[in-house]
């Protein structure tokens, strides 16, 4: 053999290269995250590392896989749980209100062969399932009044959507793990603005009622204080109403003509008749 290599260096190099390529193309490393289909001249012949529910990692399947070089091809398919992220959908509730819903689905390819035949690649599966997810969502949520759209989980709507999507997904060898609503918003424009307006008016109403409530309580407090003061006065002055009359008159004169601590009275001119009681002694009688 050495002699042959010496005689034909180019040829032997080429043969060596060819053998190496053959060797390396006859096996592949299958990671845990992938399943594969071996395709012989375009015809799928066997599946490598197929997903089995509940199988722990490290099971035979992943590892090294063999094929006949040049005749067979590997097609790799994801084994993991993947994501379909749907575009926003407008859902019309039974009471004619609109809601913009953003949902996602988690799926796993459980039948790689069927998936390969039906769609060839994960991307095309997603492309096929996206509109179906959207229409399932609209159909299922459209049966409900707006109030229950906000938490559709409570009424099993998500389970119905999942089941509906699963029926279609099965044709692609796909299992739908879960469907969830990520966002449920009011559409921009009128619905959002009117919701804002409703919130604003509700707040204004609240503010007014708080003010009125405060005013009411203040008024009651004042009235109670007045009543209390009246009671105190009545108790004290009731002992001798006649003396109270005189006492209060004296206080009143003083306040009226001289003013009290806060304000001075205006200048006064008093015209007295000599018959006035105060001037009784003036006449000298």
């Amino acid at each position: 053999m050495t002699a042959f290599i010496r005689a034909h260096p180019f040829l032997s190099g080429f043969i060596g290269f060819f053998l190496l390529v053959t060797l390396f193309s006859s096996f592949a490393i299958v990671p845990e995250t992938r399943q594969g289909i071996v395709v012989r001249f375009g015809k799928p012949v066997r599946i490598i590392n197929r997903y089995t529910p509940g199988q722990p990692f490290g099971a035979p399947g992943a590892g090294i896989a063999w094929r006949i070089p040049f005749a067979e091809d590997f097609v790799w398919i994801d084994k993991r749980v993947r994501d379909i992220d749907m575009e926003k959908q407008q859902v019309l509730s039974t009471d004619q209100l609109r809601l913009e819903v953003d949902a996602f689905a988690r799926y796993r390819i459980v039948d790689p062969l069927r998936m390969y035949i039906a769609a060839h690649s994960e991307d095309r599966v997603e492309l096929a399932l996206k509109p179906i997810l959207g229409s399932q969502l609209r159909n299922e949520l459209g049966k409900r009044p707006f109030a229950s759209l906000l938490s559709p989980e409570r009424e099993g709507a998500m389970e119905n959507i999942r089941a509906g999507l699963s029926r279609v997904a099965r044709q692609y060898g796909v299992e739908i793990v879960d469907v969830r609503i990520k966002k449920a918003d009011l559409p921009d424009g009128t619905p959002l603005q009117s919701a804002y307006a409703r919130m604003v008016t509700a707040r204004q109403q609240e503010a007014r009622s708080i003010r009125a409530e405060g005013a009411k309580r203040a008024q009651i407090i004042r009235a109670e204080a007045d009543a209390d003061a009246a009671r105190v006065y009545a108790e004290a002055f009731g002992k001798d109403p006649k003396f109270y009359d005189f006492y209060r008159a004296m206080q009143s004169y003083q306040t009226t003509f001289l003013g009290d601590a806060e304000n001075k009275s205006s200048p006064t001119t008093v015209i007295l008749s000599p018959s006035n009681d105060y001037l009784r002694e003036f006449t000298g009688r």
Partner: protein
């Protein structure tokens, strides 16, 4: 891998060069005898005949021969690629180099130090083998075993919503709230985290959004903004954990923190007005309370004063009454202008001019 095969080929070339010192290919061996009859007499015999054919310069020294062979093997150009590999001393250095390289390779790819917060997930030709605990772990060398070090202690954070842009959600009473929150999580099962989900981080984020939306849709605006925050956080964390466990994500939710739960900017003024109204109502009440206190004190004071005077009055009513009368009149009349009219029917003598004059004069003094 390509690199590796390159080295392999080069190493093979070197090992076949190793025959050089004996000056002859191992003709006695069966492997070489297939194409040509054995031409050498023995291991120490003459150089091979073929060499003589290709180099007509007569018998060659063993060094020349070696060089020539080297040229043949590496493409034959005079002074070509063979120069580095054909010479013996260099060859042995390269052999040692290769051995060193392989040793280092084995050392570096089969001994792994796993930090305390890490776990090493070992895959043998892609198949999950086992998980290395912290410390030094030994595996088969690189193309066979591969180790992915995964940090399981590090708590990662996802922040959803922010102060700058609004994340609006609908509450149960169909109000809109602007919410910002943070999810803290770490990895519990590194192998699940690696193998189970196609986009684990993205999944956690989506699950967080979904769980928060579901929880907010079940509380009122007042609750979300105020007293139910703690409950919301706990419920979102629980909901997320349930979903992620269902996905077998190998992730633990450490906690959810609502950083901000405010009304949207468009209606913020109305909410501020409510706060203002609350303040205002409180100030009404405070004023009324002050009035009440003042009035009460005044009544008490007046009543007590009256009681004191009345007690004295009771002792000698007539005198006290007159005394009070005169004292008051004195004080009252002391500071005022006084006009005393002697007889009835003299109204025309009233000093009206003076009265009129005095009024405007005094007015500015007020």
């Amino acid at each position: 891998m390509t690199n590796f095969t390159g080295w392999e080929a080069r190493a093979r070339a070197l090992f076949s060069d190793n025959k050089g010192p004996w000056g002859a290919p191992p003709g006695s061996g069966g492997s070489g005898g297939g194409d040509e009859p054995p031409v050498t007499k023995g291991p120490w015999g003459d150089p091979p005949r073929r060499r003589r054919d290709s180099s007509p310069a007569g018998p060659a020294t063993s060094l020349d021969d070696l060089l020539q062979r080297g040229r043949d093997r590496f493409g034959g150009g005079p002074g070509g690629g063979g120069s580095g590999f054909g010479r013996r001393p260099d060859g042995s250095m390269i052999i040692w180099g290769v051995i060193g390289f392989i040793t280092l390779w084995l050392l570096f790819t089969s001994v792994h130090s796993i930090a305390p917060e890490q776990r090493g997930v070992v895959t043998r030709f892609g198949r999950y083998s086992h998980t290395l605990p912290p410390g030094v772990g030994i595996t088969l060398p690189s193309p066979i075993d591969r180790v992915a070090k995964i940090d399981v202690e590090n708590i990662r954070e996802i922040t959803l919503g922010s102060a700058s842009d609004e994340t609006l959600m609908l509450t149960r009473d169909q109000n809109i709230i602007d919410i910002a929150y943070q999810v803290r999580w770490n990895i519990r099962d590194p192998e699940l985290y690696m193998f189970e989900l196609a986009q684990p981080d993205e999944t956690i984020k989506q699950v967080a959004e979904s769980a928060m939306r579901a929880v907010i849709a079940n509380v009122t605006l007042q609750g979300a903004m105020g007293n139910e925050r703690g409950e919301i956080e706990a419920r979102v964390a629980e909901e997320m954990q349930k979903t992620l466990d269902f996905y077998r994500s190998g992730v633990v939710i450490q906690g959810v923190a609502v950083k901000q739960a405010d009304p949207p900017a468009a209606v913020n003024d109305a909410f501020k007005e409510v706060t203002a109204a609350q303040q205002e109502a409180q100030s009404y009440i405070n004023q009324a309370n002050a009035y009440s206190l003042q009035l009460h004190q005044k009544a008490q004071g007046d009543a007590t004063a009256f009681d004191k005077v009345y007690a004295q009055y009771k002792l000698s009513p007539v005198v006290t009454k007159r005394r009070m009368y005169y004292e008051t009149m004195e004080r009252v009349l002391q500071g005022v202008d006084k006009t005393i009219i002697e007889a009835p029917g003299v109204n025309s003598y009233l000093p009206l001019n003076e009265l009129k004059r005095s009024a405007p004069v005094k007015e500015p003094a007020q």
